[in-house]
């Protein structure tokens, strides 16, 4: 993910040996630090090891991991730290090591997906009912309930072949047709009617009227009583103006432009909120990795 490539091809030539040396030094430093950190220095390292990948500190319920298990986890933590630093090397420049790790990650994810699909879906749903059917009745049950979906599944797999892919259309037709059909009433129920019901709130003027009559215009009671109706009004104005902003069937007169301007204000505040939250989310991911490197790999911070 090269944000900006190296400036000018000629420059790279003269800098390559320097980068290679620095790269080598970094790798050696990494290995040295990893070995030094994981030398047995009493319990802190093992606590850290057990806590790696977000685990929890061992308590009395857990038995301490066996030496072989501890070694496996130590090597795992060093490997994980290495991969993390290689991926961060992309921030300096896109490099071969990063591309290797990125593609390795895609491959591992692919293999993991295949295995999990087998163990958690195809084996329990397709193979086990027939394999572990104790008596005839059980086998007949399995055939009755599962033969049609398995047939449809095999038809779906024909999508892979170029020429003979029309049977997959029936499987897709059933799934997408059913999904579209059931989707309409559920979308209307959850995303239209329920939202409508929540949006039609009466503006509670009684509380405001009482506060006005009892405590007068400028009392704090009046202002606090103003909060609820103002909130309802604000949400109403915001929702209607945003809906009008995405309205295309009528040319916008002066009033139309004003309403869509209000709509833009609400939209921009909500996009600002999303912007702020997205930045917060990305930083949390960075913090998680830095905490892993510092506490689990180096065992520095607690």
């Amino acid at each position: 993910m090269k944000a900006t490539p190296t400036p000018g091809a000629d420059r790279a030539g003269s800098r390559a040996p320097l980068e290679r040396i620095v790269g080598l030094v970094l790798v050696v430093a990494f290995v040295a630090v990893s070995v030094f950190v994981s030398l047995p220095r009493g319990t802190p390292a093992t606590d850290a090891l057990v806590k790696e990948a977000g685990g929890t500190a061992p308590s009395d319920h857990q038995q301490a991991p066996s030496p072989a298990e501890r070694l496996r986890r130590q090597c795992g933590v060093i490997l994980a730290a290495g991969l993390t630093l290689i991926i961060y090397s992309f921030l300096y420049r896109d490099n071969a090591l990063f591309k290797i790790v990125e593609n390795l990650y895609v491959g591992i994810g692919l293999g993991y997906g295949a295995i999990m699909t087998w163990y958690l879906s195809l084996k329990p749903e397709v193979v086990d009912p027939f394999l572990q059917a104790a008596d005839r009745g059980d086998l007949l049950d399995a055939v009755r309930l599962r033969s049609v979906p398995i047939l449809l599944g095999c038809m779906l797999v024909t999508r892979i072949s170029k020429r003979f892919s029309w049977p997959s259309r029936y499987a897709y037709a059933l799934m997408i047709g059913w999904g579209a059909g059931i989707g309409i009433p559920i979308t209307v129920h959850t995303f239209v009617l329920k939202q409508l019901e929540a949006a039609i709130r009466p503006i509670g003027l009684q509380g405001l009227a009482e506060a006005w009559s009892s405590a007068g215009m400028f009392s704090t009671a009046f202002w606090s009583a103003l909060a609820a109706p103002a909130g309802v009004l604000l949400i109403l104005v915001g929702t209607v103006s945003v809906l009008y902003y995405f309205f295309f069937s009528v040319e916008r007169g002066p009033l139309g432009r004003a309403v869509s301007k209000i709509g833009v204000i609400f939209l921009m505040i909500s996009f600002g909120a999303s912007f702020g939250y997205t930045v917060m989310g990305r930083i949390s991911l960075l913090i998680d990795r830095v905490q892993f490197l510092l506490t689990v790999w180096l065992g520095v911070a607690r």
């Binding site: 944000a3 990948a53 090597c75 795992g76 490997l79 991969l83 921030l91 390795l104 491959g107 591992i108 994810g109 692919l110 293999g111 993991y112 295949a114 295995i115 699909t117 163990y119 879906s121 195809l122 749903e125 394999l131 979906p149 599944g153 779906l156 797999v157 892979i160 892919s165 029309w166 259309r169 029936y170 037709a173 799934m175 047709g177 579209a180 059931i182 989707g183 559920i186 604000l234 109403l236 104005v237 915001g238 929702t239 209607v240 945003v242 809906l243 833009v264 204000i265 609400f266 939209l267 921009m268 505040i269 600002g272 909120a273 912007f275 702020g276 939250y277 998680d288 990795r289 892993f292």
Partner: protein, 217 residues
């Protein structure tokens, strides 16, 4: 041929109609139908997952065949996949017909120490690009951008505990921005999207939209 083109569209319409009507039927037969149909689709879902994995592998195999620049890296996709599938099927000795790989297996080890760190690190890189973009790109050129950045600053500062030290009002204003203007705008957008989704489902049901049918006659 009708069985390649028109019959699937008829199947779409009928399946859609049944799915639509069963939402309004209270009779227990409707919930029995729902249980059977959803069990079917859960089983078909497993096969669908395989197609996704296959198309990704197929694409990388194509790259190795065509050898575009940087094709060598696609080899590592196959290395990674082979490693995981091998250890997964070995399943620490008990073979593919036993329960899913447990805590001690090499499959779990590779997942915990390769896939987890890589996955979380690749996404955390975005924090760095967010920072560099904050300095160079997020400029308040238009009125909209000014409003957006102001709201973002208030929400970002109000959401972290350090703002309590400065004044409690930051988190109050941030909560207000989230619960009123943000709510109103997101509800407006949500209603727009929902009407669009219903229109999209409708186009699928009546065979107007058929891109999912795939290429070919």
């Amino acid at each position: 041929m009708w069985y390649k083109r028109t019959l699937p569209l008829l199947v779409v319409f009928v399946a859609g109609l049944v799915g639509f009507c069963q939402e309004y039927v209270a009779h227990p037969a409707a919930s029995r139908l729902l249980e059977i149909v959803t069990t079917w689709f859960r089983i078909i879902g497993g096969f669908a997952l395989f197609i996704g994995l296959w198309s990704l592998l197929h694409m990388h195999a194509g790259r190795i065949r065509r050898r575009p620049p940087g094709w060598g890296y696609s080899l590592f996709v196959f290395i990674g996949a082979a490693l995981m599938i091998g250890t997964g099927l070995y399943n620490s000795g008990s073979g593919p017909l036993a329960a899913a790989p447990g805590e001690g297996s090499w499959f779990q080890w590779m997942y915990t120490y390769i896939q987890v760190p890589c996955g979380s690190t690749i996404f955390s890189i975005l924090a760095f690009f967010m920072a560099s973009a904050a300095y160079r790109t997020f400029r308040a050129r238009t009125l909209e951008a000014v409003l957006l950045l102001l709201a973002a600053a208030i929400v970002m500062f109000g959401r972290v505990p350090i703002s309590e030290l400065v004044s409690p009002y930051f988190s109050k204003v941030s909560d207000f921005l989230m619960a009123y203007p943000n709510l109103a705008a997101k509800r407006g957008i949500l209603l727009g999207i929902s009407l669009g989704a219903i229109a999209q489902s409708l186009r699928i049901l009546f065979g107007i939209e058929r891109s999912y049918m795939g290429a070919g006659d």
